[in-house]
Amino acid sequence: MKNTVAIVGLFLATMLLFVASLYNGSVSIPMSTITDILLGRGSADHPSWQYIILENRIPQAVTALLSGASLAVSGLLLQTAFRNPLAGPSVLGIDSGAHLGVALVILVAGGALTTGILTLGGFALVIVAALLGALAVMSILLFLSRLLQNNVMLLIAGMMVGYIASSMISLLNFKASAEGVHAMTLWGMGSFSSVSLDRLPYMVGICVFGLFLAFLLIKPLNALLLGDDYARNLGISIRRTRTLLLLTTGVLTAASTAFCGPIAFIGLAVPHIARLVLGSANHRVLLPATLLTGSALALMCNLISTLPGESGVIPINVITPIIGAPVVLWVILRLEK
C-alpha cells in the first residue's frame, strides 16, 4: 500500500516535471501560447516559437525522461548483480566503453560530425559502436567479478578499465580534426538537446526495449539479492541471468550515452534515492520506482540547465554531481555503520 502511494507520487512528480520542461527553456514564450501550440492551435505569427516547442523542447524532455530512466535502471541492475551499492554505469567504466565506441566512429570514421547532424547510416553506426563498447566493458567486468571476491576491488578494476578507455579516447583526439575534437568535447559534457524530433523514435525504441528487458529480470534480481548460491538453489539460472543483465545494462547505458553523452551520477545515485523513498529492496517495486526517480531527476537537471535563460545552457554533467555526490557520501557513511 505504502509502495503504491510512493510509486503513484513519483509518477505524478515525473509528469509534472515533464510538463514544466515544455513550459521552461532558454527562450521565454508566454504560457498561453505554449498551451495553444501543444494543443495544435499554433499561431502563425510566431513560427519560431512553434518550432522551439515542437522540434526542440518536446524531444529534449522525452530524451531526458528516457535517458534518466535508462541510466537509473542500469545502475540498479549493476548494484544488484555485483552486490555492490557503489556500482553504476559510470563508476564501472561502462559509459567510458560506450564513449570510446562513439569516439572511434566520430573521430576516426566520421570526421567532424556530431550525432545531431549525422546521416542516418552514420547515426546507426554511432549507436552500434556505443553498444559494442559498453558490452565489451561489461564482459570484462563480469569476467573480473569471478576472480575478485572483494567488492571494492571490483570497483577499482572498473575504474581502471574506464581510465584505459579514456586514455584511448584522448589518443584518438590526436588523429582527429579540430572540429571532431570540439564535437566530442561538447558531447562529453552531456546534453539532452542533441536528439532531433526525427531521430527521437530511435531513442524511444532502444530505451523502451532495454527497459522492457529489465522488467523481465525482476524475479531473478530478487533472488540474486541473497547471493549466487541461494539464487541457484531457488532454481534461477545464474548464467542466463548474467547474460541478460550484461545485455540489458549494455543496451541501456549505450542508448543514453550515444544520444546524450556520458552522464555521471544518475545511475549511481538514483537507486539509493528510490530505496530511501520505498524502504524496500524488492525489485517488483524498486525497479519502477528507480525508473521514475531517474526520469524525474534527469528532467529536473534539464530544467536547471536552462536557468541562465538567454545567456546559455549549463552542461548536464555540471549539475548531476551536485545532486549525486551527496547521495553517494550518504551511502558511504551508512555503510560504515
Partner: protein, 254 residues
C-alpha cells in the same frame, strides 16, 4: 525420499578432496557432518546441492541421478542454508521467507494465497512470526539464521542442507538452532543434513553422524548413530589434549 551417495568422489578438476563414499541419508532424521577443517565438508555439501559436479560416482534422489534433474525441479527437492550472512538492506523477514516460494511462483514472482499461507506456516514453525515485518539487516545472527531456515521450509523441499548453520551463533542460539532442526526433521519428516564444528552439540542432538576423515589420512567416511560411533570418534579428532568418554558421549580436555 531416499538420498544416496554411490561411490561418490568429490573435489575439483585439479584436486580430489574426498571419496569414494557410499552412504545414504534417511528421511525424518537430523544428520550431522563432522570433520576437521579441510576434510571437505563444504565441498561435499556443495556437491550434494548440485553446485558443483562430482568427480565420479553418483548422487541418487529416489534412484534418479541428480545430474539428470533440471535446476528447476531440483529447487523443489533440495533447500539450502549457508554459513555466510546475507547482507541486504530493505528486505523484511516475511520477504526473505517468501523467497523460498520462488520455485513455485509465476514469471513475475507474484505470491498466491497458498504461497502466503505456506510462508506464514514456515515462520510459525521456526518461531520468527513475531517479527515478520522487521528488516533482516536488524536481526541478531541467531534470529537471521532461523529466518533462513524458515526460507528453506517455505521452499517445501523434502531435503534441507545446511553448511555450518551454527558457526556465528552464541551458545544458547546454537542449542536452539540444533533443537529446532531436530524437531523439524522428526515432526515434518524432512531429511536434514548439516555440517558443524560443534561436536558436543552434534553428539547430543543428531540422529546420525557422518565422520569425514582428514584429507591427510586414508580413512573412510564413518556413518552411524552417536552411540554406534562412540569407539571411533577419538580417531577422527586426534589430539593429545583430548580424551573421549564413550559412556557420556563427551570429549574432555586434559
Amino acid at each position: 525420499m531416499t538420498f544416496e551417495l554411490n561411490n561418490l568422489v568429490i573435489g575439483y578438476p585439479t584436486r580430489k578432496v574426498a571419496g569414494p563414499m557410499t552412504v545414504s541419508l534417511h528421511q525424518g532424521e537430523l544428520c550431522c557432518l563432522l570433520g576437521s577443517n579441510g576434510a571437505g565438508k563444504s565441498t561435499l555439501l556443495r556437491t550434494l546441492a548440485a553446485f558443483q559436479p562430482p568427480l565420479s560416482g553418483q548422487i541418487l534422489l529416489d534412484g534418479r541421478d541428480i545430474s539428470d534433474i533440471s535446476a528447476r525441479e531440483l529447487s523443489t527437492l533440495i533447500g539450502i542454508v549457508l554459513t555466510e550472512r546475507v547482507r541486504v538492506a530493505g528486505i523484511t523477514v516475511r520477504d526473505m521467507v517468501a523467497m523460498g516460494r520462488s520455485p513455485y511462483t509465476n514469471f513475475w514472482g507474484r505470491l498466491t494465497q497458498e504461497d502466503h499461507r505456506l510462508v506464514d506456516e514456515a515462520m510459525q514453525l521456526v518461531g520468527v512470526d513475531g517479527f515478520a515485518s522487521r528488516q533482516v539487516s536488524t536481526l541478531s545472527d541467531g534470529e537471521r539464521q532461523k529466518v533462513m531456515i524458515a526460507k528453506a521450509l517455505a521452499q517445501g523441499t523434502p531435503i534441507i542442507l545446511l553448511d555450518e548453520p551454527t558457526a556465528f551463533l552464541d551458545f544458547p542460539s546454537k542449542v536452539e538452532a540444533m533443537l529446532l532442526l531436530s524437531r523439524l526433521a522428526h515432526d515434518l519428516q524432512k531429511t536434514i543434513f548439516l555440517s558443524t564444528h560443534d561436536l558436543d552439540l552434534a553428539l547430543q542432538t543428531a540422529d546420525r553422524l557422518w565422520l569425514m576423515p582428514s584429507s591427510m589420512s586414508k580413512g573412510e567416511i564413518a556413518v552411524g548413530t552417536p552411540r554406534e560411533l562412540a569407539e571411533k570418534l577419538p580417531l577422527y579428532f586426534p589430539s593429545p589434549h583430548l580424551t573421549f568418554d564413550p559412556s557420556a558421549l563427551r570429549f574432555q580436555i586434559q
